[in-house]
């Protein structure tokens, strides 16, 4: 028996090829959908990939939901897998697992920016045929649009996230100032309070090179009336409106209203600064209200308010918020597709949505719950004012969304740092968008 290096190499190549082919055993989608259409009557076990859901009263919200589901379906047991809270880190972890064909988790909570990419890559089961007719009437239209890619729906609604302007009502009252209605007024108010030495930073937001900045850029562009894509999904960024949005981002840092370190801020960094009393205004997602109002973790608890984001003077537009949130996706490799789909539907249903309004520091996806008794009892302004928001979607309906997002946040970060002019930033973003949408960006 003569085993030499050539033989070993040939063997390794064959093994690799065999392994590659082994991964090619495609599944018939109709079979998967047929399995998902039936809720099993035999005992079943499910795993749910879920990041921490902000809690209003200290309870673990995911556990409450699981217990409620198990009460309704005594034969199905659900265990949770704790996932990361950041969208990018979470996506990397779950995508690795799903791409390897793992049957677990059966259901996973994912960002509302994922459906197109995950649908395109067959990492999520299309669920439109598994939802009852009229299902989407109960949810915001923007959520349905964002969950759909090429006519197929890949996500089942769970909760939405919207952005607000949080402010220090004690400091505004001290200086006799009102909550700003425009960005220009916010700049002036911030400088007034900063000059008095009452606060270090005027406006805290997020400009790190992550998805956080893309959400901010989307909002500022919408404030100014600039479009990111045209009706045919091509890059349309440009013009005076876009430059106005980019100029504002640069002005915050240039005038000292925002600390220069905002270029490294994600949501948690800006929230930390705000709850430690270092900022007058904070732009953040709705969950920040619960955190900033909790005395154990916030020095400004009881001194804050929440308002809709302002707009630019003369545009008549304000209250813009990026449409965010988290939905449930079904793993197509799950061994319990029927039970998994039932769990996803249950999370979108009335019982869980009311539970979210009562216990969680998030905005339930079901619109009827927003003015229900649970929401009114909680008294959370981010829930009660959700219906007043002007939701704008990020350009998520492309499988190349991560590249699209990068095309926006990279030049925007340079503009905030002052190393790129607003006009050059807009040009760079437009060029990057075009390359990304063609699938040629890294």
């Amino acid at each position: 028996m003569s085993l030499n290096r050539r033989t070993l190499l040939t063997g390794a190549l064959s093994a690799a090829a065999a392994g590659s082919l082994a991964g090619c055993g495609g599944k018939d989608l109709d079979d998967l959908l047929a399995q998902a259409a039936t809720v099993p009557r035999r005992p079943a076990r499910l795993t749910w990939w879920v990041s921490e859901i902000p809690s209003r009263r200290g309870a673990v919200v995911a556990d409450l939901i699981i217990r409620a589901f198990e009460r309704r379906h005594p034969r199905i047991r659900v265990s949770k897998i704790n996932a990361l809270s950041t969208s990018d880190g979470n996506r990397s972890a779950i995508a690795t697992q799903l791409a390897g064909g793992s049957p677990q988790p059966d259901v996973y909570l994912g960002d509302t920016t994922w459906p197109a990419q995950f649908g395109h890559s067959a990492l999520a089961l299309p669920v439109e045929k598994l939802l009852p007719s009229g299902f989407w009437d109960a949810y915001p239209a923007a959520l349905r649009t964002g969950s759909t890619y090429r006519g197929r729906t890949y996500a089942v609604p769970f909760f939405t996230d919207s952005t607000y302007l949080f402010y220090r009502k004690d400091l505004l009252a001290k200086h006799g100032l009102r909550v700003p209605r425009s960005w220009e007024e916010l700049l002036h108010t911030s400088r007034t309070v900063q000059r008095a030495g009452d606060v270090e930073a005027g406006f805290l937001w997020q400009a790190a090179v992550t998805e956080s900045l893309t959400a901010n850029v989307t909002e500022f562009l919408a404030d100014a009336g600039a479009a990111v894509l045209d009706g045919r999904g091509r890059a349309a960024l440009g013009g005076a409106e876009a430059e106005r949005a980019f100029s504002l981002m640069a002005e915050f840092t240039a005038r000292g209203v925002t600390p220069r370190t905002v270029a490294t801020y994600e949501e948690s960094d800006s929230q930390d600064a705000f709850v430690n009393g270092r900022g007058l205004f904070l732009r953040n997602w709705s969950y920040a209200w619960v955190n900033a109002s909790t005395p154990q973790v916030s020095r400004v608890a009881g001194k804050i308010g929440a308002a809709l984001r302002p707009g630019f003077e003369g545009t008549g537009r304000s209250g813009v918020s990026c449409a965010g949130g988290w939905s449930n996706f079904v793993n197509p490799s799950s061994q319990e597709l029927g039970a998994a789909m039932e769990f996803a539907r249950f999370c979108a249903g009335d019982e869980v949505q009311r539970l979210l309004a009562r216990e969680a520091g998030v905005i339930p996806a079901m619109t009827s719950v927003l003015d229900g008794p649970e929401a009114r009892a909680a008294g959370d302004p981010t829930v009660l004012r959700a219906a007043d928001l002007r939701l704008v979607a990020r350009p998520v309906q492309t499988p190349y969304y991560p590249q699209v997002s990068k095309a926006l946040y990279t030049p925007a970060n340079a503009v905030v740092r002052g190393s790129l002019s607003p006009a050059a930033g807009v040009r760079a973003a437009r060029e990057g968008l075009r390359t990304a949408l063609e699938g040629k960006a890294l």
């Binding site: 599944k27 090179v209 992550t210 990279t410 740092r417």
Partner: protein
């Protein structure tokens, strides 16, 4: 001095000069078994070795070959697994024609050269001091090893707190000293410098330990000979210590190049490759392509090109370094 170096040369013949170092094919001994017995023994040998070979194939050879196959194929995720299409060079073409890859490569090369150089100098100096220490050496060694023992991600997170522009200790100290709070991780040059500083803090102890081991292997008589020849401390270091340390330094540098070129944890935690793409290493770029863009073939192409570059650098380094050692031996 010459006498010292001749002594060393006589002790360690260079590779390829003498038959004692290089061994040819094993000769048959007069009592060698006949052919069939030898084949049977070989089969038995392979049989016993096969479990280990299978494990090596599974954890080392298979992933490498699989990455290669991925990078040269059209790959698509479908229900049930990966679908391999026709062979293509498109992923390499896309990579090698994209400026972002060159920027990532430039950062990675720059980071590797600067951090390894600084670590080498500081590590050698530290080792020289440690060698002269008496009873306290053990304690100081243990303290020095603390940063090296820390898990990379934890060390990076620790430094991200220190560099934080809002509440970081480093930022606060700079404010106290210079009256202004620096934006350390928000500007390209300070962010790169911070990353090198953290790497130097973490990895210099490793270089120091390796060099210290080399120092302790140098026989005392060569120093005595140098002293008899009237060499100063400075001359002794350059003409005696350093030449004798070259092989061990080569190993330390080789390890460091391999580690530094694959830098991922520091930029991932400290800057996420930013500001802009200023601190985006090739590993971060590969991660983004593979795990965020879900482009498996593109990510594999980054992995393969990086591996080829690192291998080339290491081979080049070894060749250059070996030549220097030989020169030292001939001097």
């Amino acid at each position: 001095m010459r006498s010292v170096l001749h002594t060393k040369t006589a002790q360690t013949p260079s590779r390829g000069e003498g038959g004692g170092v290089r061994t040819g094919a094993p000769r048959k001994s007069p009592s060698a078994p006949p052919g069939s017995t030898a084949r049977r023994r070989a089969r038995t040998g392979w049989l016993f070795a096969s479990p280990a070979l299978l494990v090596i194939a599974a954890v080392t050879v298979f992933p490498v070959v699989f990455s290669l196959v991925l990078s040269f194929c059209e790959v698509r995720l479908e229900y049930g697994g990966l679908r391999f299409g026709s062979p293509t060079l498109a992923h390499y073409e896309a990579l090698l024609t994209h400026p972002e890859w060159y920027r990532a490569l430039a950062f990675t090369l720059g980071f590797t050269i600067v951090s390894v150089s600084v670590e080498l100098v500081l590590g050698t100096l530290t080792a020289l001091v440690l060698e002269r220490l008496g009873a306290a050496r053990g304690w100081i060694l243990a303290l020095l090893l603390l940063p090296w023992a820390l898990i990379n991600v934890i060390a990076a997170q620790l430094w991200s707190y220190l560099f934080n522009g809002t509440y970081g200790a480093v930022s606060w100290m700079c404010e106290q000293l210079f009256g202004t709070q620096p934006d350390i991780l928000g500007q390209p040059v300070p962010a790169m410098a911070a990353m090198v500083a953290v790497d130097v803090w973490k990895t210099t102890p490793f270089v120091a330990i390796v060099v210290l081991a080399g120092l302790m292997l140098i026989p005392g008589d060569v120093y005595e000979a140098a002293e008899i020849d009237g060499a100063s401390a400075w001359t002794t270091f350059w003409k005696v210590t350093l030449p004798q340390l070259r092989p061990i330094i080569a190993i330390a540098v080789l390890f460091r190049i391999l580690q530094a070129f694959g830098i991922f944890d520091l930029p991932f935690v400290l800057t996420q490759g930013g500001p802009g793409t200023a601190t985006q290493s090739v590993a971060i770029l590969g991660y983004r392509i593979l795990f965020q863009n879900l482009d498996f073939a593109g990510g594999a192409a980054v992995a393969v090109t990086t591996a080829v570059i690192v291998l080339g650098c290491c081979l080049l380094f070894l060749r250059v370094f070996r030549a220097q050692v030989d020169e030292g031996g001939r001097a």
